[in-house]
């Protein structure tokens, strides 16, 4: 079990929609500033032009938070936020590519797009976490992460403010762990190499 966890800890991708923000804030606030594993956040936004989300996360997180930059290499101890109105893809050399193609599941950024792309690059070294939301975005992505050998987690539907998104994911594939917010924090902490 311990071995699986260390494997799943080269990149963490987290997707969330309505009701997910407070969960993300809680999780980021619970991790130390030198938390080594890079994380990519795909959060649906109501308005495309706001920088408030980034400002808020920077304020609440101990770890460095930045918006994904085109062709930027993924480095440790950094939380990357998908920019408004772009999909985020990951290249084989572990750098980001932005993409302005059609919305998927009415969403850009789409959680599925990033999860599927990350699964192809990171395979078993990836953890995918899907939080509260009213949309089925992310369900196919978690399925793909699982198929590529990665570790999948959904927020407990009883705790999620909107449980539709984690429930859809649980219908589409077998989820490794169903956790509440504190459980997700503990899982992420357990990925820190001794």
């Amino acid at each position: 079990m311990a071995q699986t966890k260390i494997n799943a800890g080269k990149l963490v991708v987290i997707g969330g929609s309505s009701g997910s923000l407070q969960v993300i804030i809680h999780i980021l606030g619970s991790l130390p500033h030198d938390y080594p594993i890079p994380m990519l956040l795909i959060i649906h936004r109501a308005y495309s032009n706001d920088s408030m989300l980034l400002d808020l996360l920077v304020l609440k997180s101990n770890i460095l938070v930045r918006e994904v930059e085109e062709k930027e290499k993924i480095v440790p101890s950094c939380v990357y936020l998908a920019p408004a109105d772009y999909h985020v893809l990951i290249e084989k050399d572990e750098s980001f590519t932005l993409d302005y193609s059609e919305k998927l599941n009415f969403s850009r950024p789409s959680i599925d797009v990033s999860f599927i792309s990350a699964a192809a690059v990171y395979g078993k070294n990836l953890t995918g976490i899907l939080l509260s939301g009213a949309n089925e975005d992310g369900a196919d992505g978690l399925k793909e992460i699982k198929e590529q050998g990665g570790h999948t987690i959904i927020q407990h539907p009883d705790e999620a403010i909107v449980n539709y998104m984690p429930l859809q994911a649980s219908y589409k594939s077998r989820i490794d762990e169903v956790l509440n917010t504190d459980g997700i924090s503990r899982y992420l902490t357990s990925l820190i190499p001794a």
């Binding site: 085109e70 993409d99 302005y100 599927i116």
Partner: protein, 264 residues
Amino acid sequence: MQLLLNDMIDRYGYDFTGYSEASLKRRIEYFMIKDRIPDVSKLRSMIIKNPDYFRHLVEEITVNVTEMLRDPLFYKTIREEVLPALATYPFIRVWHAGCSTGEEVYSMAILLKEAGILDKSRLYATDINPLVIEKAKTGIFPASQMRKYSENYIQSGGNNDFSSYYSSNYNLAKFDESLSEKMIFATHNLVADSSFNEFQLILCRNTLIYFDKKLQSRVLELFDHSLDLLGFLGLGAKESLRFSGIESKFKQITPGQKIWRKQK
């Protein structure tokens, strides 16, 4: 996939090898699912046999999502900082590289018209995909978008009634021919084709993101060669000149807005 890309070069002279692999792979996989093609070797044999099918593939794997006056503050900066400088020239040439279905070209024509300099301007609009060029020529866009475009227009500093620029017919909005008179549409492949004129303003927004770093640098050099001294280059919100060979020759005109001016 490498074999497929090689076929495309050998048979048709279209080189996609400098495209960002993650997004190209996603587009091709999506295309294969939609067209129910079981594997890449089947796709290869289909495009080798059938040039029309190859064109169809190119149309589908290139991204053609665009809107009018996207990022209104970008266009506000064009209005306030770029057009006054261009107005001093006797003749203005603008190049929209990767113009897709033309929404940005019509946006620019509106700005030039409002600045009173459309008459002495030419807007050259190019794209790799001949199908979108044909669409762009018509100046017809979905009427359902007009509300959003009108909001963008106001945020970009527009003072007129946006609806005065088009006439609606059922669910379509046709833009005024006084705007399209100065437009020249052509297919152009940024990967393979060279510079074809000298411009005072080049716009290429959300095209470079589909290229790898090496190809991005090459295309930026093409833009440098195609720009007059003191000409302007406008890129997409998440694109920049960083790490390209031309960065030192250009200066960003306003912090936060992706518009550069050629200094040497």
